[in-house]
Symmetry: D3
């Protein structure tokens, strides 16, 4: 496939305390430049930039984050990177919560990557979003309990807050448990494959 | 078209009291196995399964439901079934609120089914979702006032609660009325066709 | 491209105080007939039409609106029009917040229009929606601070209320300012192009 | 005690899709005149009256309500009445979920009435409110499953909608059941007494 | 009455995107020192101060506000002042939407001030609060369409945003109108008296 | 003062995903018996008990809680106790964020206890409540970052979840910091006194 551009993985935005997600499987979620605040808000009194409390949420890297809000150049170490490619056909995700292995692609389809079934997420104000289970955005190549970070638009800081959740399809069907051992966590998350037609 | 798999029709999920829908017109809404709780929630304290109050919502069958929450094997009688097919092109829905008959497909397109214009829905906590009117998921082959059921993830029970609504495009344009006679209801719901290019 | 039908641009609906958007880049957002209330709500007590407080939101024209709620024939002067076309391939939007000019389409792609990066919106009750930055719906050919109008379904009136916001990608990166001069506003809104593969 | 005025029992109001309750144990909940819309909303563009979708909720009488929204003179038959009295001391509510009889007032206190423990309520948009368990408003003299009615401010109609709930303290402690037999319902609702110091 | 302290009139606070009001009729709403951010938030990861997006809302003075967010010493010119007094009995508000004059206090009661019936309010995120109609906080001595200002805690700025509403009891009963002429506005707002027992 | 009864400190309830608080300074918050689910919900289909996802929130003890949801007899070790007393006058809280010591009561008033200024709180679904700063409930004798626990009504389990916050008035006025050292936390929380008139 031909790469069209590279950028930073935007998961969702929050304006006026309301979330609007971007589909990680679509080109629009790969933003060429990173800004903690990429939008302005317009209404009857004109447009304002960074005058209130809006936020952005980005997929994060595996790097261990500071305990406190961080800003400046440190931020880019924690924001996940992406590439937009032109492909001959659409890619789709397949999930199989019944098995510990990623599913096989159908006949005449090939797998472009395998990962973990990332379903939905919530952040500040219990706002959030999610993915269609058909979108490649629902299949993240790596599992982490906290796969995204919150950035305070106006202040230019980012932080992993405690009330930020990710939801994953699971192979468990009837036990109630806290899975805090990191090995344990990825064992129970359902696996997925992203397939494209040959 | 080639069938790829069969499963149960997942309409939306609610995690941490926030809804995330699945598009009934996409493969991701057809889940191979039925679980009242197919996901776990992860955060700063690790991952939990079925430890709080999350729910799932599924399209329901025409079978008359019990008055009380039901569980176990009875559930599957009330969950609608689906099949995922590989098709040569995308299918789209067309709606015509101006007519009592489903619309004609454009020239060079053919109709794969006809139904009723199912626009959006709300459930517990006034959470919910909806469909793009272009998605085949917005055209349900049968009309019912309560086309989906709520399942309590952790408890393994399902029930048709009273504060669960479905919204349908309508042929009425200016009268205010309660349409409680079931015949009357389907007379006023707009019709749609799902078309695919030949 | 072949025009299939013309209609009115529906941005989102609000039923039971919950919003459900339509993607302006998809055919479903172009509704052949205009109604302030195109849907009915069904539940355990049957179906009701226009019995509560539901609303619809439509893209608006450039025409100056009255100060007060307006109804009847005046409404149509303020509702933006659309056309649905059959195209040989999907159109996608590209955005470039780094430049004051709309971006170039990739090699082998051509631009069908250029506009302003319309990201998301909120209306009554802080409900709203948004677009995928890949959808042509995220690229409006004209910028206005108030690009859509709210219609009261049951009452048949429309109005530009003060707590209705639109959010636009911006070329500003670190200044806090009120941009109330209309010239100023469109200077800082990011530009976009809608491209289709040749 | 001296009666100061008589009126209609206002439970809560909803403006801009947000609820604000009145305490049924305080004089402010007894409104001398009944209006479906007693308030106007003011902001940067001045004040509007009944231009949007605001609602009021009132305690209802025992009279059987029509199946459809009702208006005009019929409404007053369904709105509960109240009287405001000047008393030598504050009255307080006591609740006893452990017993099937209303609790005894403490020594040197006397009971002014006995009733059922009415805790909280939700209506449209899952908005609502509740009472302090100390307030006399938390002790309603009669139990009904639907003790209040919703009125559409601008339209002047009222109706008992299906997604309107009342919450009562209960003597049940560990059984899960649907109590639909009306006799059964009042048997399990906790009892309370309103006491005043002699 | 004996004055106990003087301060600034705090209307409500917003933490984690959720509002919590203070009753303007109670001493707790009169804060001795003014801070845009008077609280910190604690949870499983310890306590944070001003690290996210919390806000405070204060009653405002009659002074004309700048068009843009303002900070520093200018703020205090716009924050309304209060005094807490020890009184021999509780004061209560009485409202009369039926008359253009403030109501008379009952026999043996005297009026301490008269004003306008201030019922409830909403701000950012459609969060807000209101008063019991019995509380003196529901009777503001002066009417303005925008009686309170929003302050951004962490940034130390305040501003009158467009989506901030106040709700007032009104003498209008059945007309739909925009009352934008300031004279007109105060003519239709219901009057109230704050009374105390002699 | 005369003790009237002893019980468990109920902070707030959540029914149908909506919170309703109890004022810790009023008798209604001291519930004689502890139940994870003390209420049933009634509507058009009758009354249900523990059939959905309702929760209760209780003040907690200082005892270290398990990492996982706990149930049965263990719960009572973690639920804070209370006593309701008859007093000759109302008690009020006074706060002084300007000083590191609790404020003095006014002349002719005496202090009944001193504590930390507990302002508001949020739990699941970003629901919650708070106290009037005049109520004794706003002055907790001990400070903890997590002063309350969430109980799952139907399941009979309780747990300290990560997205549960408490908000305290603070003596800090302009620094942004994470105060994770427990000593540090109580140093910056404002102090208060609960006073009663002699």
């Amino acid at each position: 496939m031909t790469p069209l551009w590279r950028g930073y993985s935007l998961l969702y935005l929050e304006g006026q305390e309301r979330a609007h997600p971007q589909d990680l499987g679509q080109a629009g979620s790969c933003v060429p430049m990173f800004y903690t605040m990429p939008f302005s808000v317009c209404g009857v009194s004109g447009c304002h930039y960074a005058s209130r409390n809006d936020k952005t949420y980005w997929l994060s890297t595996m790097e261990k984050a500071p305990n406190r809000p961080f800003d400046g150049n440190i931020i880019r170490n924690h924001i996940s990177r992406c590439v937009v490619c032109e492909a001959p056909a659409s890619a789709v995700a397949l999930h199989d919560p019944n098995s510990k292995r990623p599913p096989e692609c159908p006949e005449n389809w090939t797998s472009i990557w395998q990962g973990y079934s990332f379903l939905m997420y919530t952040g500040g104000g219990d706002e959030g979003g999610g993915h269609s289970l058909t979108s490649p955005g629902s299949c993240l190549s790596q599992f982490r309990a906290q796969p995204f970070v919150e950035c305070q638009g106006a202040r230019g800081t980012c932080h992993f807050f405690a009330n930020v959740y990710s939801f994953w399809l699971t192979t468990l069907s009837n036990s109630s448990s806290t899975l805090s051992d990191v090995q344990d966590q990825s064992n129970h998350v359902a696996r997925c494959s992203v397939c494209i037609r040959l």
